[in-house]
Amino acid sequence: MPYREKIAWMSLAGLVVCYVPYFALTYRSPLLDRPLPNLELMALFAAAAGGNALWVLVGRLILRTTTPPEERGPGDERDRAVDRRAVAIAYNVLIGCALWFGGVLPFLATGWHIVNAMVAAVVVAEFVRYALTVRGYRRGLA
């Protein structure tokens, strides 16, 4: 398995492990409706984001030490093509979500609901990026 595909799998797992519990917890509890400054929600978000950063850091360290140096060198043209396509589509997902949440959500929700939706947009775009990276390596770019 290419080094960058391993990184994409690891990053995907990190997003699921850290952000699915965060969004499940925030949308199932009355946390989003509390008045500003909503320190509990901020602490929860900090835990999710910090946990994800730690996951990625440790994951990259493990992959770096377990992958032969010749396989983790600078990316070649296929790596760049896979990344370019994944980033391009993820960017469109992010822009689409931002337009939807920024243009429509202010009429339907308030405060942290909108902020959380924007955080979700970033997480979804990241998920799409890594998922498409994996797909690019496994199924090809055709």
Binding site: E71, R78, A81, R139, G140, L141, A142
Partner: protein
């Protein structure tokens, strides 16, 4: 527009070149072993430059290494 796919003879040419490994070919043209494997399997179409480099390694013209086949 007619749809098609690019097929190649890299596996055969590697065999004829003394069972050259994917890693050796990759090193010769500046890509990873996995990229050569993906090209052979038809999962990735190389850039024009990489295609020319591969053909040069085997001392063959480009159209003896890569061929475009229309679908259907």
């Amino acid at each position: 527009m007619t749809r098609g796919r690019i097929v190649n003879q890299i596996r055969t040419l590697r065999f004829l070149a003394g069972e050259m490994s994917q890693a050796e070919l990759g090193q010769a043209i500046g890509v990873t072993r996995q990229t050569i494997a993906a090209i052979e399997a038809g999962k990735y179409s190389p850039s024009l430059e990489a295609a020319f480099r591969i053909a040069q390694v085997f001392g063959k013209p480009l159209d003896e290494v890569f061929r475009w086949e229309p679908e259907g």
